[in-house]
């Protein structure tokens, strides 16, 4: 562009517009990718959720109706919803309680030990999630290690596999790093002179934690909770492998609608209902986080 003329408001505006066009061009590949492979399918699912079914169970894209959404109020569906919601909540709570002290410990170590511990947290990601979940099946089975140890110690056989406890164990195991890492990041960047100031102003160690460290690490608590709660709510692999048939959760229920029941409209409606709950949870969490800062 020539720069021989003095700048006028018009020239300045067009230069700014050119700048933002360049920004858009840089983001274009990502826009196309997400639009084509994420937004468009989502729109399709949304359309299908209003579709009707023929007598033979074929999905027909006509006679759009709200039948699928009405079926969400079916007591059986609500029970699955509540069970999944509670399980996701309990998973999040356990992850938080286990992770906070650990994240605090990592964040307050020297740089070398800190890095070693962080790598240890991430090591599970190096192997396939499916494989790791199957490993739990071996551990938790009636002839698995856990049960064998119990029997060797004179206790009875332990039946964990195919119960909601097994799903809970699997979910906590799988999502723990997603809680540890944001918590670590939040605690690590804490200004420790604030804790010293609290101690200087007569707070004992526990009070200083309650009044300063915890409120200031809230962003990490919120981020970690979202990262654990949302995938827990929609989890499919863990409940499918560890839960068995008696503890149907949202994830496998949706899959069964698409595959076994071949009820695409209802499966789509379920998916959107889950996304709506996730959206509400996210907004709620962010509100909480915003209030503390």
């Amino acid at each position: 562009m020539s720069v021989e003329a003095p700048v006028t408001p018009e020239l300045e505006r067009s230069a700014r517009k050119a700048e933002s066009r360049r920004g858009f061009r840089i983001g274009l590949p990502a826009f196309v990718y997400l639009g084509l492979l994420f937004a468009l399918p989502l729109v399709l699912v949304f359309v299908y959720s209003f579709a009707s079914r023929s007598a033979t169970g074929q999905t027909e894209l006509r006679d759009f109706n709200l039948n699928s959404y009405e079926r969400l109020l079916d007591p059986l569906v609500i029970e699955i919803f509540v069970r999944s919601f509670v399980l996701a909540l309990v998973t999040t709570a356990i992850c938080l309680l286990v992770s906070y002290p650990f994240a605090y410990y990592i964040a307050t170590r020297g740089p070398t030990l800190r890095n070693v511990l962080l790598v240890l947290v991430m090591i599970p990601f190096w192997s396939n999630f499916l494989v790791r979940t199957y490993a739990w099946r071996v551990l938790l089975g009636t002839d698995g290690v856990v049960s064998q140890i119990s029997q060797a110690l004179g206790g009875g056989e332990i039946r964990v596999l195919f119960t909601s406890s097994a799903v809970l164990i699997g979910l906590v195991y799988g999502f723990l790093p997603f809680m540890v890492l944001p918590l670590y990041a939040a605690i690590e960047r804490l200004d420790w002179s604030l804790v010293e100031a609290a101690r200087d102003l007569y707070a004992n160690g526990w009070t200083a934690f309650r009044k300063v460290t915890l409120p200031l690490s809230m962003p990490g608590v919120v981020a970690g909770s979202i990262l654990v709660f949302i995938p827990s709510l929609g989890a499919y692999v863990t409940p499918a492998i560890l839960g068995g048939a008696r503890t149907v959760l949202l994830g496998d229920y949706i899959v069964s609608q698409f595959l076994a029941a071949r009820n695409w409209p209802f499966g789509s409606a379920l998916s959107f209902a889950v996304m709506f709950v996730m959206l509400l949870a996210t907004v709620f969490y962010f509100r909480m986080g915003a209030k503390t800062l």
């Binding site: 002179s193 010293e196 100031a197 101690r199 200087d200 102003l201 007569y202 707070a203 800062l293």
Partner: protein, 357 residues
Amino acid sequence: MADAAVELIGVRKVFDDETVAVDSLDLTIEDGEFFSLLGPSGCGKTTTLRMIAGFEYPTEGSVRIHGAEMGLMPPNERPVNTVFQSYALFPHMTVFDNVAFGLEMRKVAKTDVEARVRRVLDQVQLSKRADARPSQLSGGMQQRVALARALVNEPEVLLLDEPLGALDLKLRQNMQYELKDLQSRVGITFIYVTHDQEEALTMSDRIGVMSEGRLLQVGDSHEIYERPTSRYVADFIGDINLVDAEVAGPGSARLSNGVQVSIPRGHPASGSIALALRPERLAIHRQGEAVPPGRNHMPARITRRTYFGDVYYYDVDAGLPSVLDVKEENRPEIGTHDVDDQVVVSWSVEAANLVSE
């Protein structure tokens, strides 16, 4: 006699079993004193302050506050409060809650808390901003909140860790006077850590100069500036000319340029000494001009003149290993000298100060 506000006896602090931050420190700070610990960064002054506050425990020695041994007592049980370098205001609390924090921790009655916080906020002229968050305040205001938060607890000793470091020059100078006034008003012992010699000189009743973990000299501003006992202190505080000499007899020494000068009493009988001469205590005379009696003098040549507005700085070559700095006021009756002028440089015998290594 009442116990001293703070006593440090044989205090030593070693980090990670290898870095000696503070070594064999003995220091007594009297009640109601404005005491400054002055030194470059890494000299151990902040570590010393943190040991009094309780954020660090000494490796060895005794830390006493009003006679009570504090060595390993946690900070919340010590009758001291700190103003932090970065202020360390709680970002998630209002100004009021920040200031009320210490009182609430000590379970002071709600109505008393309210009254005391209001009063101290009044004192630092921030009563109108009680409901603001620290991030909404300017640096100077944050500084005053930090001060109010500590003072509201009426501590026996107030510790200040370079509290003016983050402020710009004008504000810093104003705060120096305010702090000094405040200290004489409330009568609390202030221990003030700074690397800024001007701050220390203008505010303190006494100054302790530290270097490499050791306390080199303790004295009032006048003593520290006029009578430094070591090369280091002479050099660290203000500008100084250090001139090496050999003792030539009682009251007399020979400089390396062969000039024989008179020196003040109290010098060793023989051997090497160093004369510390402040630039403003040297005078430049035109050639042929009479030098007043009682002054040492020697011929010299001006090699550089620098204009500072209120003063001129001259570099003067008198045949010594390094040039002498001479500072003269910018007043018409004194006149100026030009580069390459042949002159005579002189100083009063008593103005020279003998320093050890």
